[in-house]
Symmetry: none
Subunit: 277 residues, 2 copies
């Protein structure tokens, strides 16, 4: 599925490329929990929402009333306090233009289009870009979404799991879905974390230049000789191996200096010892 | 990016192209939980492992003894029962050639390369393709991984979260990481990871496992002391730096053996010299 970036974006899509736009986007995505049984799971869902920058939670017909105080909502008590509560899923998604139900296909014959989670992002981005409002709907811990619930959904999102064990914990399912969505919605995060290449993310120094390795090799070789480790018949072969070894290890400049310091010290000690004998 | 099927794969890659291969791959990935406090979180981690096809769990120095019976391990009681328990992280990752610690950078200045979670997959795939063994390490709920824990890690994996609320629930963090890894290790998507190895033409040997680096560190440390290079006030700091240095260098097994041989010889010489004085 093609990314919205690779297609020609509609004109107002530009605002989504601003850093502030992430929050605007996530503010148009509702997380809807239908008949959750365990308040801890509601709190966990709220926590994951806070982790990935989502703020709008709706709880439909919860079993346990005191869910707003769930202690598992670490870092998200306000999110939980301001969550909407409705009696029906219909009410919860009333204002939404794209309703995506979550679940597995193991026990279900899908009646609407099925989208694998990694492919949901572009659909959501497109919907938001054209001014729509999206709901991501999760069923109860025990049964997931009912057939009736699903009839309010435009599509069914499937998290790719091991067919042997498809049933996910509610809080974990929410976390995985929002992680995936955030990676595709947020311009800010795309710039900083998600899109960045491994090289950009790696703050370690570049490898030391060849000449430093050669200087290091000389000191190590002298140390080997001083330690009686490198008999003269082997010295050419050892020098060659050492050169290759240092390139395999590819120390950065600072590390090369440290190793050099250690070997200089050892060499000095060994030479002093042999002078004293 | 072209699929490995379209290129001519080296013979031993064939096994990775079988549908069963994903599970073979996941079997070479250890999930390691360091000092988890809440058995429910251990169970949740096990459940997520089962969801995404991972099987090898190690629990290091857990706070609560009855974690093996955690009811949150829905669908994964056997995984939990067969989990390994160790006293130290060093033991837990002893056989691993690539150890990835997880955490956020908010309160930490990283001392090793940082990889954003979406970029971890290709690194893991490459390590597994060359016969290595990978550990994904999670810290305790309260503090995450300590500086000392991190010194056993080759790299730090960052889950891209909202900077306002970076701290994730342990079970959710495990789920998100394994979701991402599974999506990249599965034979279908391996194309990405394989490309990297193919470019290198000859897949080099895997890095020496963690325990070899620890043994090597002991001999080098003794050498530093024998050479008067490490005053006792600096020994803890030097030990820590040395651990990180060896992980940055990531010698393969043969190179680790050579370096060990050289330092053993030097140590023997230095000690003989000091006996003779």
């Amino acid at each position: 599925m093609e990314s919205p970036r690779s297609a020609l974006p509609p004109p107002h899509y530009n605002r989504l490329l601003q850093p502030e736009a992430q929050f605007a986007q996530c503010d148009h995505v509702d997380v809807v929990l239908v008949s959750p049984r365990n308040p801890l799971n509601i709190g966990a869902a709220a926590r994951a929402m806070a982790n990935f920058g989502f703020r709008r939670l709706t709880v439909v017909a919860p079993y346990a009333p005191p869910w707003r105080e769930a202690r598992s909502a670490v870092g998200a008590p306000e999110l939980l306090a301001s969550a909407k509560q409705t009696e029906t899923l219909a009410e919860a998604v009333a204002g939404c233009t794209l309703v995506a139900g979550t679940g597995t296909l193991t026990y279900r014959k899908p009646e609407q289009p099925v989208v694998s989670l990694p492919n949901l992002g572009p659909l959501v981005a497109r919907e938001l870009a054209r001014g729509g409002r999206v709901a991501l709907v999760f069923g109860s811990e025990k049964h997931g979404l009912t057939r009736d619930d699903l009839s309010f959904c435009h599509l069914l999102v499937e998290i790719p799991t091991d067919p042997q064990q498809p049933s996910m914990n509610l809080g974990q399912a929410v976390a995985v879905c929002l992680y995936e969505l955030a990676s595709q919605l947020s311009p800010l995060k795309n710039a900083v974390g998600f899109k960045a290449t491994e090289e950009e993310q790696t703050p370690d120094d570049p490898a030391a230049p060849s000449e430093n390795l050669d200087r290091l090799a000389i000191v190590i070789e002298e140390t080997m000789i001083a330690a009686g480790y490198s008999p003269s018949s082997m010295q050419a072969a050892n020098r060659y191996d050492l050169r290759l070894l240092l390139r395999r290890l590819a120390p950065n400049e600072r590390d090369a200096r440290r190793i050099m310091g250690l070997f200089r010290r050892i060499l000095w000690r060994l030479r002093r010892a042999s002078r004293e004998r």
